[in-house]
């Protein structure tokens, strides 16, 4: 196991696909890749899908596909991006057969009930993301949470970097609008404190 930890993602992927190795060795390579990138993929599924149970299903399906479609002829340069692309496709498939369950009005009623704690904006942001159109949410999540550049996101989603930039901008504006009650309360609190 220790020697696997020293291998790069690309080398591990190659071992995972190598038919000359025993199944145990191939599985060990997959296990190492799983432990390296599962948290990131799971976080992506959670933020895109919102619902935890659905996110777990998408996450599980993504890794099953990653394992079952392992191809020794594929030149793998970026395993996490490849995994995120698979996860994205799975999430899109699930989204196409689902419908929104949370309306804007409901959200505002929720925000007023939220306690004001340190992590509240993070919690509210996670909920607000569920209200964004999928392409906006995806651009925001991949850029702000996953730290991918607009060009990387464009390559993953099949659109230009400029389109991704516009989507991320729109996502921010919509998030500001959704979280306006929170920001106005915060501003009032700050003014009260200043006084």
């Amino acid at each position: 196991m220790r020697e696997l930890e020293a291998l790069s993602d690309a080398e591990l992927y190659r071992r995972m696909c190598d038919g000359e190795l025993s199944k145990r060795e191939r599985d060990a390579a997959f296990t190492e890749l799983y432990h390296r990138h599962a948290p990131r993929v799971y976080a992506y599924c959670r933020r895109i899908m919102g619902d935890d149970d659905v996110a777990k299903d998408a996450f599980q399906e993504a890794f099953m596909r990653f394992y079952s479609t392992a191809d020794p002829t594929r030149t793998m340069t970026n395993v996490p991006a490849f995994l995120l692309r698979i996860a994205r496709n799975v999430c899109l498939n699930i989204k196409q057969s689902a419908r929104p369950t949370l309306e804007l009005e409901d959200y505002h009623s929720i925000t007023r009930e939220q306690p004001y704690e340190n992590d509240e904006l993070a919690e509210l942001l996670a909920r607000a993301l569920e209200l964004l159109p999928l392409e906006y949410r995806e651009a925001f999540v991949l850029h702000e949470y996953e730290g991918l550049s607009y060009a990387e996101i464009g390559a993953m989603t099949g659109v230009s970097a400029d389109v991704v930039k516009v989507r991320a901008f729109r996502a921010r504006q919509k998030l500001r609008a959704i979280l306006a009650p929170y920001f106005s309360d915060r501003t009032e609190d700050m003014n009260t404190t200043d006084e």
Partner: protein, 396 residues
């Protein structure tokens, strides 16, 4: 108006690009000038920064639940090796050790705190022993095993003989002993009455009855229980043990997106065994399972991870219970317990009432609180649970 909106949107785009580090240097100065003059733009920048900070502080990764990981590996036919067994052992040792420690504490408390049984009314009402006078004949009989004692003077001579015949273990009385027939005193009658109403169970140990008879006054008969004789019936005012089976409808105050693991009734139940020390105090041990929401953070290489789970954890506590009586059937109680779960230390508190429709059976309803403390990568975390508890109690 449209010009104003376009103008504002233009600044917003510049601001967004600036925060992304992609604003052309030539546009920075106009943006800063606009920020200096437009309060709304400054507010927008604060909000965008807050959004970005919230996203970045929301950590870059979430750890997938163990169950999901196990499902993936199982689905792919990949064994997780002995890690599951080792993990199970790592998780179980703490509650098991806690339950054993609780049992030891209970035994210790029983040994140290339990006082000798309170002498029953029969013993308390005995006439103070009289010092034998020269005119008094003392008869000592050692009784090894018997369940019936005929008080002197009550039976006739024939009955006394019958009593002696019925108790062959009696030692032969000294030849000087005389047993004249006497009338029973009032106290002896009371004793006999009590004996009829509430049979006394004698201990099996040998004991001595010392009977003092005054020849001049045969009606004065005193029975003295010798100091070393354990002529104490094993009276029980209450059953010593209580078995408590209860369910826990609690919820964690820590918010996680997962639903609590209530896959079976055993996930929210507990069983306890209490030893009654007195009318008000009891100690015991309890074990059970209960969902605890867990959200904690850790580092894996350079990545900060957030772990979220709502598992049903096995727990065990050593408990102290205080109870009182409200009428013949209602029994309010409060209970405190200290122990552990699979992941850390646990404190429990319960306040409720037991309704006893029958002497040895009761139903219980109460408020329940629990606080679990666990540590991950040297950082402590707390999970409080509150809710109600309900159950059934047996006394034996």
């Amino acid at each position: 108006m449209n010009d104003q909106m376009d103008y504002t949107e233009q600044y917003s785009e510049w601001l967004s690009a600036y925060l992304d580090g992609e604003l052309e240097p030539a546009l920075e100065e106009p943006l800063f000038s606009a920020l200096a003059t437009h309060a709304d733009l400054r507010q927008e920048m604060r909000e965008l920064l807050a959004l970005r900070r919230a996203a970045r502080n929301d950590l870059v990764a979430l750890v997938p639940p163990l169950g999901t990981t196990a499902a993936i590996f199982q689905g792919l036919g990949i064994g997780m090796g002995g890690s599951i067994g080792a993990s199970l052992l790592r998780r179980l040792w703490l509650p098991v050790a806690s339950a054993i420690a609780g049992g030891a504490l209970t035994w210790l408390a029983m040994t140290l705190l339990s006082t000798p049984p309170t002498p029953p009314p029969v013993a308390q009402q005995q006439i103070p022993p009289q010092q034998p006078t020269p005119e008094t004949t003392v008869v000592e009989r050692i009784v090894y095993r018997t369940r019936t004692v005929y008080l002197p003077g009550i039976p006739s001579t024939a009955r006394a003989e019958e009593a002696n015949a019925a108790t062959p273990e009696y030692a032969t009385p000294p030849a000087t002993a005389t047993t004249p027939a006497v009338q029973p005193s009032q106290h002896q009658q009371e004793l006999a009455l009590l004996d009829d109403v509430q049979p006394i169970r004698f201990t099996a140990a040998p004991y001595t009855i010392r009977r003092s008879e005054q020849s001049q006054s045969p009606r004065d008969v005193a029975i003295e229980q010798s100091a070393q004789t354990p002529l104490l019936p094993t009276y029980e005012h209450y059953p010593q043990f209580r078995l408590l089976l209860r369910g826990l409808a609690t919820s964690s105050l820590v918010t996680v997106p997962q639903q609590p693991d209530r896959s079976s009734a055993l996930s929210t139940s507990a069983v306890g065994l209490f030893y009654t020390l007195s009318d008000h105090h009891a100690v015991g041990i309890e074990v059970g399972r209960e969902p605890f929401a867990m959200q904690f953070y850790g580092y894996q290489e350079d990545t900060r991870l957030r772990y979220e789970a709502y598992p049903a954890l096995l727990w065990g506590v050593a408990s102290y219970q205080y109870r009182t009586q409200l009428g013949p059937q209602w029994e309010p109680f409060a209970q405190l317990g200290v122990g552990a779960t699979e992941f850390g230390l646990l404190g429990r508190a319960t306040a409720g009432v037991v309704y006893r429709p029958a002497p040895s059976v009761g139903v219980m309803l109460g408020l329940e609180g629990a606080l679990m403390r666990y540590v991950y990568q040297s950082t402590p975390y707390l999970t409080p649970n509150v809710g109600i508890t309900y159950g059934i109690m047996f006394r034996f």
